[in-house]
Symmetry: C2
Subunit: 232 residues, 2 copies
């Protein structure tokens, strides 16, 4: 278990801060441990600060009137959640919930803005973080708009594999603790379609094995190439 300061130093857009500034932040922010399924906020709520994931995972998603959900992103340790509304003063654009028991730090808006305005490196890093998010969303839009379910799944698996997978011979082995139901909300489809897409990818040899949460995949480049090449 790391200290709060050590955890904050791991946050990309705070890493440039001096020790004193970090201590100031650490003193002002509220750490809390929560279980799985804890709702941090819902779309439309006013925003008074930013959450930082210290341990665990937080899913950010939109809910439709009929209950269907579209996952926008899943954030892990060291990543901020919903830093966006801090700046335009608007409400949260999406909802957020922990998927596993997690430790979070809540940083009040005023503290965050102070750091942002007094340290150009923090400002740069914040913009970079927003940029990454934007890039990711552009990707998501394109994926949902253009590709069929199997290609979306392949692309999605490739994303996870390139981050968390490990090489094992010619294959990539990935431990992905997700139900098909969860995967479905992440790529904007139904659970049954995910099941069928997996079957399709297995037949193509892109998914070489799957037992429990452990996937054996073909190399990431191959997954991406196939997904890109598939006509809508």
């Amino acid at each position: 278990m790391t200290t709060l300061i050590e955890a904050l130093r791991e946050v990309p857009f705070l890493s440039g801060l001096s020790d004193a500034a970090l201590e100031r932040l650490a003193a002002r922010c509220v750490p809390r441990a929560v279980g799985a399924g804890f709702a941090l906020f819902r779309a439309g709520d006013p925003c008074g600060g930013v959450y930082i994931v210290l341990a665990g995972q937080v899913r950010v998603y939109r809910t439709a009137h009929d209950g269907r959900e579209q996952t926008l992103t899943v954030e892990g340790p060291g990543r901020p959640v919903a830093e966006l509304p801090l700046f335009d003063g608007g409400p949260y654009p999406a909802s957020a919930m922990t998927v596993v028991p997690s430790r979070l730090a809540y940083l009040p808006r005023a503290e965050f803005e102070y750091a942002f305005r007094h340290d150009p490196d923090v400002a740069s890093a914040v913009v970079a973080a927003l940029g990454r998010r934007l890039r990711h969303l552009v990707q998501l839009v394109e994926t949902i708009a253009f590709r069929d379910v199997a290609a979306r799944l392949a692309m999605h698996l490739a994303d996870y594999a390139s981050r968390d997978g490990r090489l094992e011979g010619a294959d990539v082995v990935l431990d992905l603790p997700r139900t098909q139901e969860e995967l479905a909300t992440e790529i904007g489809t139904a659970r049954e379609s995910v099941s069928r897409a997996i079957k399709q990818l297995k037949k193509l040899g892109l998914v070489r094995g799957l037992s429990g949460t452990v996937w054996r995949l073909s190399p990431v480049g191959q997954l991406r190439d196939w997904a890109r090449g598939e006509a809508s």
Copy 2:
């Protein structure tokens, strides 16, 4: 025709600059007038600066392998195009092209970063601009993922109407110089589907008239409510 400095002052994230700083920027940036259909850059190109729309309109879009296009946003006067890649150093995530003859200013990356790092107000405004874009994309993702074509069109028309429409009795009148083909790429569908969606909205009384580029719509709230209420 405004001067370059006056035009730059209209740009949201530069409006806080001193006259001297603005003059410096104006001296360094490259204005150019281009016709319709001029390609500013394509997805994947490296990014050396930011474009600012002085007059006209620029469409930002992604192209699929098979030629289909998804419009991400259409930017008008005073708005920056693709300020995102300046900060993470990545390539442009999308392509951009003028839709009408336009005047643009090209601001080299170094100048932009100088202003960003030396003026916290500029930094704030840049983040706000990114935030707006992010919010818009979140909306777009949800729209594409959840709603049918007619609802997407209604939502889209409501967006335009709330910005450019004018009240006329109980109706909103909107001049929207777009072909159905263009509308189709903006809401991620085919031209024929737009035609049918318009018919549907007319039957519902949400679109009360359409001649040339001039639309007569029911109030924006009504459009949005209907679009939200429509099941998937």
